[in-house]
């Protein structure tokens, strides 16, 4: 029996109907969604509508479909017209899908100022330093909604409100939060939000999206075929086509459409169950001698993610033993978020990360707990 506790990397099992929808799409002759008359919406429209509804965005045409969150983030970074005079503020808790594109942008524009905010002693982003950074004419503020290492949810509503007041554009990386905690575009004041379909939504890999506020017009990064308006010399400028080029991954978006349908019915209860399991797991881990839980305070909002180390064991070794001996799949190392480990004290080797979904059971949680106890004995 395998116990899957790596849902922060990719949600598994896939949601009800995903495999069937993907299979059916592969078995059906392809058609171009924009050129067919008919009563039912195509899967791309269903995905746009589903995501827009999920994040309280009034206009589905502002949802650009992408291959993943990294794709969405790159569209944002290269589309917001950064330059040598820009000032970008981000944080040490970010994933490489944010940090690496930003470093590449800075290579292109060496004058660009990049402020990477630290966390304070409690593990929260240092607001004093954030306020100071905002005084230096910020162009763009990029923050993840929730850390993929500790699960801590950043208070983005408050942070983005300040950023907007300072005149910055705001970009939220919602890779870890979509499907786990509610997101409202209106409340958060995000100009841009990057999503993925294969984590909290339990959709297929190869799906993601970028929300673009109607007040923003991003520079086109990818241009080419659209299947329609082929007589135009330049790529169409209207949304969402403006930022989508080439043949979309129809089987995966059919899967995502099914995942969104499933989430609409069962998502809230699913997310609550995952949170409850993770909270109980975290509390129990904090009482095991030799186990260190990173940023484990129960007083903050979290996604169902827990990071630990066990004295006497290398983190890579814990992952190996849990997988090969106990049949428990988790994730070890830096989790593609290299800067947070210095801040939370898990450098240089990183952590063992357990991440739950609502598909996990109480027995699975208890079995994982027992495994950690045996390693820590």
């Amino acid at each position: 029996m395998t116990i899957y506790l790596n849902n922060a990397a990719s949600g598994w099992p896939r949601a009800e109907g995903v495999c069937e929808a993907m299979t059916l799409t592969l078995q059906t002759p392809p058609f171009h969604p924009g050129r067919v008359a008919g009563g039912c919406a195509d899967v791309l429209t269903i995905c746009r509508r589903g995501i827009a509804e999920l994040v309280d965005a009034p206009d589905p045409t502002r949802i650009v479909l992408t291959t993943n969150a990294t794709h969405a983030l790159n569209l944002a970074f290269w589309g917001v017209k950064l330059n040598d005079h820009a000032h970008v503020i981000t944080t040490v808790t970010e994933h490489n899908s944010v940090l690496r594109p930003l470093h590449h942008v800075r290579e292109r524009f060496p004058g660009l100022r990049l402020t990477i905010l630290p966390t304070n002693a409690t593990g929260a982003l240092d607001e004093e330093q954030f306020d100071q950074a905002l005084e230096r004419e910020p162009t763009l503020v990029v923050i993840n909604h929730a850390s993929n290492v500790t699960g801590r949810v950043n208070e983005v509503e408050q942070l983005f409100q300040k950023a907007k007041k300072a005149g910055a554009m705001t970009l939220l990386d919602a890779s870890q939060s979509l499907g786990s905690i509610p997101i409202s575009v209106k409340k958060i004041q995000a100009d841009l939000i990057a999503f993925t379909g294969h984590k909290g939504l339990h959709g297929p890999a190869g799906t993601g999206a970028l929300y673009v506020n109607p007040s923003l017009e991003l520079e086109q990064v990818f241009v080419g075929g659209t299947g329609v308006r082929s007589d135009l010399m330049l790529h169409p400028a209207n949304m969402p086509m403006r930022l989508e080029a080439g043949t979309p991954n129809m089987p995966s978006f059919a899967g995502l459409a099914a995942a969104l349908r499933w989430y609409q019915k069962e998502g809230a209860a699913h997310a609550q169950k995952a949170t409850e399991l993770a909270n109980r797991f975290r509390e129990a881990l904090m009482n095991i001698p030799k186990v260190k839980v990173f940023d484990g305070t129960a007083k903050v909002c979290r996604t169902p993610v827990i990071s630990i180390q066990i004295a006497g064991w290398a983190v890579e070794e814990i992952g190996y033993v849990l997988a090969e001996s106990f049949g428990i799949i988790c994730r070890t190392g830096l989790h593609c978020a290299p800067l947070i480990h210095q801040a939370i004290g898990s450098a240089p080797e990183g952590t063992v990360r357990f991440s739950f979904s609502g598909f996990n059971t109480e027995l699975e949680m208890e079995t994982a707990l027992d495994a950690v106890r045996r390693l820590a004995a």
Binding site: V321, E324, G333, R374
Partner: protein
Amino acid sequence: MKITEIKKIEDCFDGSTVYGYTFDAVWTQDRIQQFRTLGNLDYFPDFPRPFFRVCQKNGVQIKGIQGDNNCRVIYPQKQKEVRKKEFEEAFMES
């Protein structure tokens, strides 16, 4: 017991020195106990599938599961190629 396949295993760090080895036989309790002559052996027979870890003085670490036909070896950065050759030659001869 001979090596049938060698695979470099990547991890989170540039310049990984972790290798995965597949053998033509499985790790039995007797074979695992023979590692005591090579270094410090930690053996966990009460795990669902018994785990072993050997730490040699030269920095080489060997890790595996009893009953599997594979293991992981972590070489020290310093003298990695020398230690790797030593390990692989030991299993060519046996």
